[in-house]
Amino acid sequence: MSTQPIIISASPHVHSDRTSKKLMYDVVIALIPAFLVSLYVFGIRAFIVTAVAIISCLLFEYLIQKYLMKTKVTIGDGSALLTGILLAFNLPSGLPIWMIVIGSLVAIGIAKLSFGGLGFNIFNPALVGRVFLLVSFPVQMTMWPTAVENNTTIADAVTGATPLGVIKEGLMFGDTMSTIATKIPSTVELFLGLTGGSIGEMSALALLIGGVYLIVRKVITWHIPITMLVTMAVMTGIFWMVNPEQYANPLIHILSGGALLGAFFMATDLVTSPVTKKGMIVFAIGIAVITVVIRLFGAYPEGVSFAILIMNAFVPLINTYFKPRRFGSKIKSKIV
């Protein structure tokens, strides 16, 4: 007999080898292709922004947990690391470092730890950080170093607007889509990522690879990303078909901006998304609708971040009303 006592515990006595840490690191792995693309496009700047965001997120988590909350420090679980990466991916590559640090503090300190830490936060921490920066420093947050110039020179970065920004501005000044179309990158360029924008939302291809990896690894299910993208496509498609001169086509909407990053990585954040599949679909439809409304009729060119945060607030409600069907409960004859 071994010297250690026999363990008693309640069933089950076996456990799957999935851990929350592994889930977090799987998401990190899935973000690698997008990061490589941004490195190619923005060069060292992308690396600096990401590194600063990661380090400050981890540091703030450590400091707050150790000295303010006086609880166990959990920086090893990968969630702060992930928040850092996602925050960086939502920032323009030219952002001053001190702003990134502030964004990290808001993301970790306010959006995550003040709610009680991992699992208790209502809003996606990275997005809270991003939106905080966006409303506090709107100028810096919308200065997008353009892709080609920045590839070689970082110091005097030439800034340009994102495709969505160009469209919004153009439409405001009464241009039609056909004239604007010449100013924005082609669909193929959008797909590959040779455009202006946040670090992580460059390449649709890289994000798709990451998203597929997550679905294959069963970290996320298809429900949120697919529903969200399809709804967006349908909504913008309707507008486009009604008036193609006033509204951009669905493909541009899906491939540009934060739609793909949001669909695969931000909206699917386990903590801030619903727990049932029915709920996920409702959640994703909500995000898509709000995004499209903001993009087409709002003041901002891009609305994915706001849409996700708004729907985050509805998650508890969704969880309450969209429950899985209990086994054996009678199939109700619905009142029509």
Binding site: M1, S2, Q4, I6, I7, I8, S9, A10, S11, P12, H13, V14, H15, S16, R18, T19, S20, K22, L23, T74, D77, S79, G117, L118, G119, F120, T221, L270, V271, T272, S273, P274, V275, T276, K277, K323, P324, R325, R326, F327, G328, S329, K330
Partner: protein, 442 residues
């Protein structure tokens, strides 16, 4: 496409290492410890006294009520004492200790009964026999069989399901029994069909037991009223409600029984016990037990007398290996961890699982990350994370409204939880409290 139940379920590693091992007969132990609470329901009442001489198969404790069962002596010998010993519940319970009479030959006869397929008994008599001979569900739940078979007048019953699923990892007792006693099981099914006066029986077997499926298909080729259903491998398909849904597509209502949709489910082990009781007057005094574990020298399947201390079984397979940290009575998903090997085999012991260091420890419980995995896998459509939360905080009323009582305690939620949260521990606790509150209300 093979059939299965639609909602939830998991695929734990099967680890059926004893699937190829023939069932061996365990040597008769010198002393047997027969607990009086071996089944769900009221414990039996002891009717022997210290120093009484008992014969093999003699009733030593009689049924204590309707939901109860007789207990028969597994050996011929002398009652040495009526004592309290730790049983699988972890608490000391009443039990009858019988010293085997080594001179009595009936103890050591290894009868190989020939197949007897002629059914002579009347339905009523068969049911009475099942009740008298202490037959309980041998799948693990140990629900007295006669209660299940007691179909009231006017209740529509049209199908008998035979549970040969054995969805628990590691266990192979039912699988081996199906391979080695197939003919007897078919006769057993026919006996039940006669007793219940119906003409449809379906044997459900998971697809990881292809040999058993083939064998039964072969045997029932000319039996118009017995079918074989091959099922996808998915845990917890052996649960009654899941099995009914998988095979027949009928959904047992909430808080209901399979009988509510015209079905009775019995385990293959139970069917074999019924066969022996009806055809050979043999009460339930032994069962098949899988003794298994990755580190064991010679994991095997045994015919074991009820009341044999688990120590004997473990010795038979080569002793406890170095670094054993957990002993489980039953399968890894629903079995109970036991304190030591002094615990005896009871009617519900389908396996003994010896778990080593690496597998034994539970991970540290972390915060719920609301990934919803427990919700996806719950075969009953519950929200385990919510139920745990409610129970932990003491909102039993709310937990009850969230259908905590319909939980079948399959453990799928705890199995998948990436944060290693003790979901089922709390749900089970919550169920206990809710049950108490409900009885207090009535």
């Amino acid at each position: 496409m093979l059939k299965t139940f639609p909602k939830g379920g998991i695929h734990p590693p099967e680890n059926k290492i004893t699937a190829e091992k023939r069932i061996r007969r365990m040597t008769v132990p010198k002393v047997v410890y027969v607990p009086i609470a071996q089944h769900i329901g009221i414990p039996s009442e002891i009717i022997v006294e210290k120093k009484d001489k008992v014969e093999i198969g003699q009733v030593i404790a009689k049924s204590g009520g309707f939901v109860s069962s007789n207990i028969h002596s597994p050996v011929a010998g002398i009652v040495t004492k009526l004592d309290m010993i730790i049983d699988t519940s972890g608490y000391k319970k009443q039990c009858i200790v019988i010293r085997t009479d080594v001179k009595n030959e009936s103890n050591f006869e290894e009868k190989d009964y020939p197949l007897k397929s002629q059914i002579d008994m009347a339905p009523k008599a068969i049911l009475q026999r099942i009740s008298d001979f202490g037959i309980v569900g041998l799948g693990g739940a140990t629900f007295p069989s006669h209660v299940k078979l007691n179909v009231k007048e006017g209740v529509k019953l049209d199908c008998l399901l035979i549970n040969g699923v054995e969805c628990e990892p590691y266990l192979t007792a039912d699988h081996r029994l199906m391979l080695e006693k197939a003919d007897e099981i078919v006769v057993g099914i026919k006996i039940l069909l006669v007793a219940l006066n119906i003409n449809k029986a379906i044997i459900g077997i998971e697809n990881n037991k292809k040999d058993a499926i083939k064998l039964f298909k072969e045997l029932t080729k000319n039996e118009s009223n017995i079918q074989v259903a091959a099922l996808q491998v998915k845990y917890p398909q052996g649960g009654e409600k899941q099995l009914v849904k998988a095979i027949l597509g009928r959904e047992v209502p909430k808080n209901g029984l399979p009988l509510d949709v015209g079905v009775i489910v019995h385990n293959v082990g139970t069917i074999f016990a019924i066969y022996e009781a009806v055809q050979y007057n043999k009460p339930l005094t032994e069962r098949v037990v899988t003794v298994t574990g990755k580190k064991l020298e010679n994991p095997s399947n045994f015919w074991v007398k009820i009341g044999t201390p688990i120590t004997d079984l473990v010795t038979e397979v080569g002793g406890l290996p170095e670094g054993t940290r957990k002993l489980v009575n039953g399968g890894p998903m629903m079995g109970k961890a036991i304190k030591n090997t002094d615990v005896p085999v009871t009617k519900g012991t389908s396996g003994i699982l010896v778990i080593s260091e690496e597998e034994a420890s539970r991970g540290e419980a972390k915060n719920c990350i609301r990934c919803g995995e427990c919700v996806f896998v719950c075969p009953m459509g519950l929200e385990p994370h919510l139920l745990m939360n409610l129970t932990e905080k003491g909102f039993y009323e709310k937990a009850s409204n969230e259908d905590i009582m319909t939980c079948i305690e399959c453990g799928s939620c705890s199995y998948v939880c990436p944060s290693h949260r003790p979901l089922l521990d709390y749900i089970r606790f919550g169920k206990n409290i809710v049950k108490k509150l409900q009885t207090a209300k009535n």
